[in-house]
């Protein structure tokens, strides 16, 4: 028995974004320690964080075109890694900006907040690059642990604690399940490397029930992270309890990263064998129920954050449709590209929507209800317009990018012959329109006094504007993005 271990410095270069994030996350913390535990200027802190994020982003962009695996096949650097990596650091950067201008996050622990956020982003990057189940697990845990604490240190006194606690317990529970699946897969396939697993999966899946069991555990563990019914129950509670910038970050970065891993898993054709049919069947049901549950429960919500949380559950369902298509037919059916496109679109709209909410919170305890939005169009027309655009995009109304996301998902489903899922998604969309319209209605069609945007939150306003404008522009000219997605998927994955 021999352990071959090849280490190359060039691999470290590829890992630089993560390193940069990790290193820059230390800076504010070190400053805080050196200044005797006194919280330094939050703007400077944010800038250190942003510098790391931008550096990471720059590095990611420079990695464009790389197509190779590194660290002995543990991490994969391809177009997908770059694209989703950029989406993740974008979300992190925007969330950082929001955090600085939110009362629940800009507390006397803001340095720690930045530290955790950047590390969470690093974890997400690892997850989305993982080509090995162990690395995946490490990434997931890095991300999750940071998020638990991020929620827990919120300035909000009660709900955030409960949320952190719930998230931690359930997250660890799911991690254990996931890990158990890794163990089974490792035990049966003899490796945790996705390529190696893929090579054997055809045989294993039909011969070895333990392998299939491992896959199920794995799928359930991942499904928990991306909140698929019935493993979604934590989502609304945690999203609502977490400080809004963190929620935005979680809803976008964590979901994008985990879905990419999920995609890599199904693209290894592990699910292509006949014996996996039943697994795909039940995943289809889960997707359908996720869309249903997310949309229907969102209809009943009064808290905007909770509503968006449920809507994020529903969106997971839509992405699952694309994922199922990817698992059935590979890239010919456009399943994986639809997933990636949707993830990018979803990141843009969701982070923007949570950003507007974050802007409206007037203290650490404030919860924005739909009624609080009354007459917002009059008080801050631009923010109202941004939120409108973002919500309409989430609802999938053309010409916003959300429409094209749904369009690609439905195309994939139709192409794969999954008409019922497409129609199901359509019906879900109709329901979703109802609750997405409610805030718009309150903002424009009511004149009473409600929540307000404090004047000095210019950076957040800018970030939201960027998201909103991007939602429209990318919607109108979605071809470049789609091209990028297709490019990202080409290559030796």
């Amino acid at each position: 028995m021999e352990i071959s271990f090849s280490f190359r410095w060039v691999d470290v270069l590829l890992l630089m974004p993560v390193v940069v994030l990790a290193v820059s996350s230390m800076v504010p913390l070190l400053i805080k320690v050196m200044s005797g535990g006194r919280e330094p200027n939050s703007f400077a802190t944010m800038c250190y964080g942003l510098a790391g994020v931008i550096a990471a982003a720059g590095w990611l962009i420079s990695m464009e075109g790389t197509r190779r695996v590194a660290f002995d096949g543990a991490l994969v650097f391809d177009g997908l890694s770059t694209l989703i990596g950029l989406a993740i650091v974008f979300a992190a950067g925007v969330a950082l900006v929001f955090s600085r201008e939110n009362f629940a996050t800009n507390t006397d622990q803001f340095s720690e907040h930045v530290f955790l956020m950047l590390n969470a982003a690093a974890g997400m990057l690892l997850v989305s690059w993982a080509n090995d189940l162990i690395f995946f697990f490490i990434g997931i845990e890095l991300m999750s642990l940071c998020l638990y604490v991020l929620i827990a240190i919120s300035g909000e006194s009660r709900l955030s604690k409960e949320a952190a606690f719930k998230y931690f317990l359930l997250g660890s529970f799911a991690s254990a399940i996931l890990l158990y699946g890794v163990a089974f897969v490792f035990g049966t396939a003899g490796s945790t490397n996705l390529q190696v697993i893929a090579e054997q999966s055809q045989d294993l899946i039909s011969s070895n029930r333990l392998f299939l069991l491992g896959l199920i555990f794995l799928v359930v563990g991942i499904a928990f992270k991306v909140s698929i019914f019935p493993l979604h129950a934590w989502t609304p509670d945690v999203y609502q309890g977490a400080p809004t910038p963190v929620t935005g970050f979680m809803a976008t970065g964590a979901k994008a990263a985990t879905f990419v891993l999920f995609l890599r898993l199904v693209m290894t054709s592990a699910f292509a064998a006949d014996q996996a049919n039943r697994l795909i069947e039940i995943i289809q049901w889960m997707a359908a129920l996720t869309i249903l549950a997310g949309n229907i429960a969102a209809v009943m919500q009064t808290s905007v954050k909770r509503m968006l949380a449920y809507s994020s559950v529903a969106h997971s369902g839509y992405i699952m449709i694309g994922l199922i298509v990817a698992s059935i037919g590979g890239e010919q059916l456009g399943g994986s590209s639809s997933v990636i496109f949707y993830l990018v679109a979803y990141t843009l709209m969701t982070i923007g929507a949570f950003g507007v909410l974050s802007l409206l919170e007037k203290d650490e305890d404030s919860q924005i209800h739909v009624e609080d939005l009354r007459g917002l169009a009059k008080r801050s027309p631009w923010m109202a317009l941004c939120l409108t655009v973002l919500l309409l995009s989430l609802a999938g109304i053309p010409p916003m990018v959300g429409f094209f996301g749904k369009f690609f998902i439905f195309s994939a489903a139709v192409k794969a012959g999954l008409y019922w899922l497409a129609v199901w998604g359509v019906i879900g969309s109709v329901v979703s329109v109802y609750y997405y319209l409610r805030p718009i209605m309150q903002m424009y069609m009511r004149d009473e006094v409600g929540a307000e945007v404090c004047g000095d939150r210019y950076l957040s306003i800018g970030a939201v504007s960027v998201a909103a404008i991007a939602v429209v522009v990318v919607g109108l000219f979605s071809s470049p993005l789609y091209q990028a997605v297709l490019n990202a998927l080409r290559g030796p994955t």
Partner: protein
């Protein structure tokens, strides 16, 4: 030595079964116990059950990677326990309560 003889008869499946049983105990603990600390411990139990199967697989398939993983998992479990306990302590300090049923504000 008879004991080793008998140990040799213990195959992969035995380990796996044991691991499954421990894992189930952990799950049941998470599902049933009200005390947060006990729930934390149950989760550790689950992770350790997984470690057990890793080791077993590693041993029976002569694949050292499994044992490396165990190290990873142990580290992570430690971190997890640390974070978990920290949260638990914070909560206890704040609410003087560690019964999980106390935390049901977020719902609906």
């Amino acid at each position: 030595m008879p004991s080793i003889e008998s140990l040799n008869q213990i195959g992969l499946n035995h380990y796996l079964a044991l691991s499954a049983i421990i894992f189930s105990f952990g799950m049941i603990g998470v599902l049933m116990r009200k005390n947060v600390i006990v729930m934390l411990m149950s989760i550790e139990l689950m992770l350790n059950a997984v470690n057990l199967s890793f080791i077993a697989f590693s041993n029976f398939t002569a694949n050292l990677n499994g044992q490396i993983m165990v190290f990873f998992v142990m580290t992570i479990a430690a971190a997890e326990a640390g974070v978990g306990l920290a949260i638990a302590v914070m909560i206890y300090k704040k609410f003087k309560e560690i019964n999980i049923r106390y935390f049901e504000q977020l719902r609906g």
